[in-house]
């Protein structure tokens, strides 16, 4: 988020108020950039207009990859590279491989999912980005409106935010 962008921030102190305010502001033809909150608010992503995340698809693919990797490694070592008779079992002793294949699935899903999550949200250790209003990690809810992306004038945006129940309207 570059510092040259013009933002108008509406500050709210209740999660239900901010959720309703998004609808009210959008009804006036104002584009809402994003809403910042100290905790997840159900339905807010839909109200703001974000698309449904594709993380579950990524997770499924990582899981599948993990299972394939585990089965490939085990079958390569136990059947092709160095087959050994253990307890009179087949070299291809599928039931015995299920536990490790399962652990591989979980391991790949977890790390793949979290990495995808971090990359898609631009989260990385040492990232110095701060919230537009640092009170949003405490008890305030902030609706951010990008002035440059809106046809509505700044004064009208401020008025709409006030009317929707904002306790403060700031420019950043």
């Amino acid at each position: 988020m570059s510092s040259t962008t013009n933002y108008i921030l509406g500050v709210y102190d209740d999660e239900d108020e901010v959720l309703h305010a998004v609808g009210k502001v959008k009804a006036k033809g104002i584009k809402v950039e994003d809403v910042y909150s100290p905790f997840p608010i159900h339905g807010l992503d839909v109200a703001v207009g974000h698309e449904r995340t594709r993380l579950p698809i990524a997770a499924f693919m990582f899981g599948t990859l993990g299972m394939i990797c585990a089965f490939s490694l085990i079958s390569y070592t136990m059947v092709f590279d160095w087959p050994m008779i253990i307890g009179g079992k087949d070299f291809f002793a599928l039931p015995n491989w299920i536990p490790i294949a399962f652990e591989g699935t979980v391991l790949f899903t977890a790390f793949g999912l979290v990495s995808t999550f971090c990359i898609s949200n631009d989260l990385w250790p040492g990232n110095k980005t701060l919230p537009l209003d640092i009170r949003t990690t405490d008890d305030k809810f902030v609706m951010a409106i990008n002035v440059d992306k809106n046809r509505v004038s700044a004064a009208d945006i401020k008025k709409a935010l006030k009317e929707s129940g904002a306790i403060e309207v700031n420019v950043k």
């Binding site: 100290p38 807010l44 253990i86 536990p99 977890a110 971090c118 990385w124």
Partner: protein, 466 residues
């Protein structure tokens, strides 16, 4: 998550807290100077850790001949302690994953410290795995790595190898789950930071978190999926640990009941350990408004349920040993209850089967002192359970001439002390430098569970704070 909750439900956050109060109450501990009590407790745990580290070093240096093992009893305290710690390490992920899937709101105040405890307990368990190998510097031989012996691989048919994968996956996934849960709270501390050091370090680890609605929406999906995969993971870990025993042919070990019985026992002991730590934490850090009697009671109910499952498993084992008609199996069980280790067996029965039944009384399960005492009793009992399973099944084998007893040496005891030192040192560091309650999650369920917000819903008034 702010849907309507029946007003007759007990409140999970008391004292009329606002969101800002939550932030303040939890961050206070992180931001303030360490208290005198913390310094004393941390000092003691460091001393215990140092003594234990000496014993562990000596064990590694000399080899496991310094333990009291003999030809007949080849596994004793090492594996007992390993299974005990791994079992304890089941509660954290269970609380954060299974209770998340079941939408149990009371998990929010306790999941952070329970998960931390899980991670530390699994590390303690790992120390016994390494030690019992005898040559811990060759621990990587348990991994399927290309090697100098003509690429001889590990045996993937062996439960011991499954265990390596299960424990390491469990440790790393739990760590990841815990850390991702911490990120929003680390950002809160970053944004409140008054010193440059705190701003830098909490900022470094909070990954540039802003709490935008898009991030939160994805975050919730991520948590849900992590919970979904962690739930079978938790169950798989102790199932696989139990298979270390169940796939052998030793009477007393070779039973199909082991996986569910071990998993129930693990949840039982894990919840008891969480209970012990929470009862201390809530008093020391003055978190009585967040970790309420309601939480304690819920925990006690889970302890009673899992304790009863464990009790039924003990009786089933005994019945099957008789019903199977296998002479050796029957003897193994009769020897447990009436042989030279009868005291360990009856200790286990009393602590695990009888004591949790006291929680049927509401007066007992809401009494803090009794809950604290019984939570320790449960873990003593669970240690004896593993000791009974391992040592009494081994000490009288098929040949009476090789029958033997096991007695621990100071290094058996010292290595066990090491794990306590490690556990408490890490726990105290966690309690000082990280938020012990998940602030974001507590805030997200406060409408409906806190006294202040319920009053407001019944009688809407204009907010006047600030």
């Amino acid at each position: 998550m702010s849907h309507v909750v029946s007003p007759i439900r007990e409140k999970l956050v008391t004292g009329g807290k606002s969101y800002s109060d939550v932030t303040h109450d939890i961050c206070k501990q992180v931001e303030g100077e360490p208290t005198k009590e913390w310094k004393i407790a941390f000092g003691i745990s460091c001393l215990v850790f140092i003594y234990g580290a000496y014993c562990l070093f000596y064990t590694w240096w000399q080899g496991i001949g310094v333990w009291g093992l003999n030809k007949t009893v080849g596994w004793a305290w090492d594996i007992t302690n390993f299974v005990w710690w791994v079992g304890i390490g089941h509660a954290g992920t269970l609380i954060s994953a299974v209770l998340l899937l079941f939408r149990q709101k009371w998990r929010t105040s306790i999941n952070r410290s329970a998960e931390a405890m899980t991670i530390f307990a699994v590390l303690c368990a790992a120390s016994f795995i390494l030690a019992h190998m005898g040559r811990p510097w060759l621990a990587h031989w348990a991994l399927p790595l290309p090697n100098a012996f003509g690429s001889l691989w590990v045996n993937f048919n062996s439960p011991l190898v499954w265990d390596v994968f299960a424990i390491s996956t469990y440790l790393s996934v739990s760590l990841l789950f815990w850390y991702m849960g911490l990120v929003p709270d680390l950002a809160t501390i970053r944004d409140r930071a008054t010193t440059a050091g705190r701003k830098f370090w909490y900022g470094f680890f909070s990954l540039g978190w802003t709490g935008s609605s898009k991030t939160w929406a994805r975050y919730e999906y991520m948590s849900l999926i992590l919970a979904g995969i962690s739930t079978p993971l938790v169950l798989s870990v102790h199932t696989i640990v139990s298979m270390d025993f169940a796939t052998s042919v030793i009477p007393g070990w070779h039973t199909t009941i082991f996986p569910p019985y071990f998993v129930a026992g693990a949840i039982f002991s894990g919840f008891a350990m969480v209970q012990t730590l929470l009862l201390i934490t809530r008093v020391v850090f003055k978190l009585e408004d967040y970790i309420t009697i309601e939480h304690i009671e819920m925990m006690n109910i889970v302890i009673t349920v899992t304790g009863s499952v464990v009790g039924i498993a003990y009786l089933t084992e005994f019945f099957i040993a008789w019903y199977s008609g296998v002479e050796y199996e029957s003897y193994a069980f009769i020897n447990r209850a009436t042989g030279p280790y009868w005291w360990a067996y009856w200790m286990m029965m009393t602590c695990n089967v009888i004591s949790p039944q006291l929680f049927w009384s509401k007066a007992i399960r809401t009494n803090l002192m009794v809950s604290f005492f019984l939570s320790i009793v449960v873990n003593v009992g669970m240690w004896f359970e593993r000791f009974v399973i391992i040592v009494t099944s081994l000490h009288r084998d098929y040949l009476p001439s090789s029958w033997a007893m096991f007695s621990p040496t100071m290094y058996d005891i010292g290595d066990y002390i090491f794990s306590f030192g490690l556990f408490f040192t890490l726990f105290f560091l966690f309690a000082k430098y990280l938020p012990v309650v998940n602030m974001a999650e507590v805030k997200s369920v406060m409408k409906g569970v806190s006294t202040e917000f319920t009053i407001k819903r019944i009688k809407p008034t204009k907010k006047t704070e600030e």
